[in-house]
């Protein structure tokens, strides 16, 4: 059982997506795990063949418990230290988030943001799983033709001869979801191993029988979002339980942060004139779907600045500061039912703005739909909160242990601002940093904020 965040001490296996004998690759989603905060898609730590599923569906076990064993392949090109038969999948230590190599950044779940609602609608009508599609459109976007081609492809598992009674393999969680949604399992086409029915299949079946004209039924991206009322959609925990457990998880982590981390705070006011002018000029030429929001510039600047000032990017573990090699920016995303998640935007400093924007949109959608991947919950090296959207001028955050800094952006406001001896009205944003005084001093924090401010004066270089 991996620690999906420093605040997690146990988890429940909701669904296995693999069975013994299946070949898996590092980064593949192999199980769905329920945590206090959300149901998470758990990824394999290594490549190999599933030997045994040790922890059964429905079992709640402490962090560190073996969930499954994977026999690693004797890969000739990439020898792995603990290789050999029966090598166990070791969970990362709770307090030391696993560092990921950039090439493993989860791409399979990223096509979401570049799919228009109309295409989603079409995909749902045809029962095509968008997650399995490779887009042929611009920037890898999925086109209508891709969807229709996928629908025309023959099904992997043909119906048994004679249409005789078939034994349906259904995961317990899928069964429960089916019961709650009133889905007849006999009519669901399974996409799991050996045609077994998974939770996603049930949801797709439920969605496809929804009547109503196009546009009235929620798009698939939203269909997965679990509404805050228990009656409106099934979930691993009831809405009330989730609200409570989420609150308790936040309470534990934030109390630990304030108990252990000596926070210091610095703040500066950043002139956003050039950034917003540039953004306006750029957006004017683009379709709505390709437009950037100011938050994308702020987040990119925060990521690049973290690379320039590595003293704020990393973890405090074993009584010392361990700088992180990459910049995985945690984004504080508030959930509509209350509470928040802080999934990581992997390698944020390397993403070009349009890519960063679509990843950001994708993360928000999946965070709210409960479809985050385990690496996204464990990899953040520094976190950004952008409460500006809620209209406040500044926000001083509480650090997520074991990280050592949290950046806060307030609302972009027009304020009197002096430049070159002249006062004018300019858009400005109050930018703050809460940092761990064990890991760095105020001087480092000040350099970090100055770096952000400088970067935002040259938006075309972001």
């Amino acid at each position: 059982m991996p620690a999906l965040g420093a605040d997690m001490d146990e988890g429940t296996v909701l669904e296995w997506l693999v069975k013994p004998g299946d070949e898996v690759h590092k980064g593949d989603v192999i199980a769905v795990i329920d945590t206090a905060k959300a149901a998470i898609d758990a990824e394999a730590f290594c490549s190999g063949t599933i030997e045994q599923l040790v922890t059964g569906v429905g079992q709640t076990v402490p962090v560190g418990t073996v969930l499954a064993t994977i026999t690693e392949e004797a890969a000739p090109s990439a020898p792995v230290a603990p290789a050999g038969r029966g090598a166990q999948k070791r969970p990362s230590r709770p307090k030391a988030p696993r560092k990921r190599e950039p090439e493993h950044v989860a791409e399979p779940s990223h096509p979401l943001p570049t799919i228009s609602p109309l295409i989603r609608q079409r995909a749902r009508e045809l029962g095509v799983d968008l997650a399995t599609l490779r887009g042929s459109g611009r920037g890898g976007s999925v086109t209508r033709a891709d969807v229709e081609r996928a629908a025309a492809r023959p099904q992997k598992a043909p119906a048994p001869p004679g249409g005789a009674e078939r034994r349906i393999r259904v995961s317990p969680w899928a069964r429960r979801v089916a019961a709650e949604l009133g889905v007849d399992l006999g009519r669901v086409t399974g996409s799991g191993p050996a045609g077994s029915v998974r939770e996603t299949d049930v949801r797709r079946a439920a969605a496809s029988r929804e009547p109503g004209p196009a546009g009235q039924a929620p798009a698939p991206s939203q269909a997965g979002r679990r509404p805050p009322t228990a009656a409106a959609g099934p979930r691993a925990r009831s809405a009330a339980e989730r609200t409570l457990s989420m609150r308790q998880a936040i309470a534990r982590l934030m109390a630990r942060s304030k108990r252990e981390i000596p926070h210091y705070y610095v703040s500066t006011t950043v002139d956003m004139t050039s950034a917003l002018d540039w953004l306006r000029g750029r957006n004017r030429e683009l379709e709505v779907s390709e437009r950037l929001v100011p938050a994308a510039l702020l987040i990119k600047a925060a990521a690049l600045a973290a690379r320039q000032v590595p003293g704020v990017n990393g973890y405090w573990t074993d009584d010392q500061f361990c700088p992180a090699g990459a910049v995985h920016l945690g984004l504080a995303i508030s959930l509509r039912g209350g509470g928040l998640l802080t999934p990581a935007l992997h390698d944020a400093a390397d993403l070009r703005l349009p890519e960063l924007m679509s990843r950001m949109r994708d993360l928000v959608i999946r965070a709210r739909a409960g479809r985050l991947r385990s690496s996204e919950l464990t990899d953040a090296t520094i976190t950004v909160t952008n409460l500006g959207d809620q209209g406040v001028e500044s926000v001083f955050g509480v650090i997520y242990p074991p990280q050592v800094a949290l950046v806060g952006f307030g609302k972009i406001l027009e304020r009197p601002f002096a430049v070159g001896g002249l006062i004018g009205v300019r858009p400005v944003v109050v930018t703050t940093l809460a940092a761990d005084h064990r890991a760095s001093d105020g001087y480092t924090g000040a350099r970090y904020l100055t770096a952000i401010s400088d970067l935002l004066q040259k938006p075309e270089e972001l």
């Binding site: 509404p227 306006r280 957006n283 709505v288 508030s334 950001m360 949109r361 959207d389």
Partner: protein, 79 residues
């Protein structure tokens, strides 16, 4: 587009962006984003859906027209 159609289009778009919200509960003259608790990404998606659905290009300079439900209906209906 009639005001009724515009309102219907907005209702559908809101249902996608914020499934838990209902525009029938909204004060037509109150701030739309505050009322629906939309962040800037949600708002962008709302505009995107409306733009696709109505076939109207909505410029960034038009965003202030979406400050309230009433002004948004008026804006879409005027096209």
């Amino acid at each position: 587009m009639t005001p009724d159609q515009a309102r219907h289009a907005i209702g559908d778009a809101v249902a996608q962006v914020a499934p838990d919200a209902d525009i029938n509960d909204l004060d037509p003259d109150a701030d739309l984003r505050d009322g629906l608790e939309l962040d800037s990404l949600d708002f962008l998606r709302l505009v995107e859906i409306l733009s696709e659905r109505t076939g109207q290009r909505i410029e960034e300079d038009d965003y202030p027209q979406f400050a309230t439900l009433a002004s948004a209906v008026k804006f879409l209906a005027a096209r």
